[in-house]
């Protein structure tokens, strides 16, 4: 027995890109199904990276800022208002080798869960961990992927944030609400973060910087008690005590699913044609952070999600004319 359902458009992922594509596709009567992902404590979850942030201050239309999760709930409601169907599942396999395309969720079955005339890929990116020994077992025991979830538990304690971009500055600034001191450990001697976020971190008396250092080991047995760091120039190593460590070193695109089927850069980002969201497979479009290693903003993701839906609509029309 096959439970496969056929759809005009299947959208994989539900961050700003996927949900904007859903709004536009739904309004074009393409009845999109959004396979939105599954709950997790990393950015790989329904709503995407913004679900783990607090104030979003640079999304146009919100002069007083908006909470990341609230913004994503609004995106989702808006897509549903026009009939987009949301499915809380994770895509486990795709087959883009023939049309209609096949999309699987859950266990591997011979028949796909969905077949689709067109697929919009908006699986986004998730935060990178350091890849050090014992990392997985220390998550939740002093090592955190979610400052908004876990900052509360480090009241009046000294903690550290690893990274030098906007997310590192945002997390460090947020964490000073709880911690007595936040050390930003960065491998260079200057930050990648935007000027306004840098200024805010520099002005915060609770934030200190440890420049030109990388974390090479986690200290502590059942829970994190500190880190071993190495100077990037003279290789000198030292041990520092921290009750908590928050990771903000960057993101990697969620593209393992598409290996061998969609063209990607060495870094894993999907390749789209210039000024377009078209991939190497006709009828498969990619939008948002999964194909953007330059801007990576909610508003650029939303913009490219709109492009993907319009391109899918025009491509579908051309197929039937």
């Amino acid at each position: 027995m096959s439970n496969t359902t056929h759809h005009t458009v299947v959208i994989i992922g539900s961050g700003p890109a996927g949900l904007t594509a859903a709004i536009y596709a739904a309004r074009a009567n393409l009845n999109p199904v959004v396979v939105e992902g599954e709950p997790s404590s990393t950015s790989d979850q329904p709503g995407g990276q913004l679900m783990l942030t607090t104030d979003v201050e640079n999304y146009p239309g919100f002069p007083d800022g908006v909470m990341g999760p609230d913004l994503m709930h609004k995106f989702r409601e808006q897509a549903q208002r026009f009939g987009a169907q949301m499915v809380t599942d994770k895509v486990t396999k795709v087959d883009f080798s023939k049309r209609p395309f096949g999309v699987w969720t859950g266990e591997a079955t011979p028949e796909p869960t969905y077949t689709a005339e067109s697929v919009i890929v908006s699986t986004g990116a998730q935060s990178i961990m350091l890849g050090l020994e014992r990392e997985a077992e220390l998550v939740g025991h002093g090592l955190s992927t979610c400052a908004t979830c876990d900052g509360f538990f480090f009241r009046d304690q000294e903690i550290a944030v690893v990274g030098g971009g906007d997310s590192a500055m945002e997390e460090a600034t947020f964490l000073t609400k709880f911690a007595s001191k936040v050390t930003i450990i960065h491998r260079r001697d200057q930050l990648r973060a935007s000027k306004i976020m840098q200024d805010r971190a520099f002005a915060n008396e609770k934030i200190e910087f440890l420049w030109n250092h990388v974390v090479v080991d986690y200290l502590g047995n059942d829970k994190l008690e500190g880190v071993k760091v190495r100077h990037t120039q003279n290789s000198h190593e030292s041990e520092l005590a921290f009750a908590g460590l928050f990771m903000a070193i960057g993101h990697k695109p969620n593209t393992d699913l598409f290996a061998g089927q969609l063209d990607m850069k060495d870094s894993g980002y999907l390749i789209t044609k210039p000024d377009s969201t078209s991939t190497n497979v006709e009828g498969v479009f990619a939008c948002g952070d999964v194909q953007d290693d330059v801007y990576r903003q909610a508003v650029t993701a939303a913009g490219s999600g709109c492009m993907a839906a319009i391109e899918a609509e025009r491509w579908l029309e051309a197929q039937h004319s």
Binding site: S40, S41, H141, T148, F154
Partner: protein, 111 residues
């Protein structure tokens, strides 16, 4: 608002429920400001409904019950701790799908 099968535990009511429960108790340490906690709340309600009689689900709001969170060394939420016969026997950290959660609880529930 509150789910009829899910008890909201506090610093004072926790020990009694854990020590007298006749079935395993899964305690969800959560807070209002935690997005991943909100994401798994409906999943826990479904599990409470579907496995009523096999497993009891309870919640601890860490914001108003900080002593309990500290006592159980909760440093990240959501943290789910399974208690059997009054003893903590399993600890699950982080939000996950219903499928993964049921797999983690397979020892105490049957389908």
């Amino acid at each position: 608002m509150a789910h009829p099968l899910i008890d909201e535990l506090t610093d004072s009511s926790f020990d009694e429920l854990i020590s007298t429960a006749e079935v395993p108790v899964l305690v969800d340490f959560w807070a209002e400001w935690c997005g991943p906690c909100k994401a798994i709340a409906p999943i826990l309600e479904e599990i409470a409904d579907e496995h009523n009689g096999q497993l009891k689900i309870a919640k601890v709001d860490v914001d108003s019950n900080q002593k309990l969170a500290l006592r159980h060394q909760v440093m990240s939420i959501p943290t789910l701790i399974l208690f059997q016969g009054g003893e903590a026997t399993k600890r699950l950290v982080g939000a996950k799908s219903k499928r993964d959660l049921l797999a983690d609880l397979a020892e105490v529930i049957s389908n």
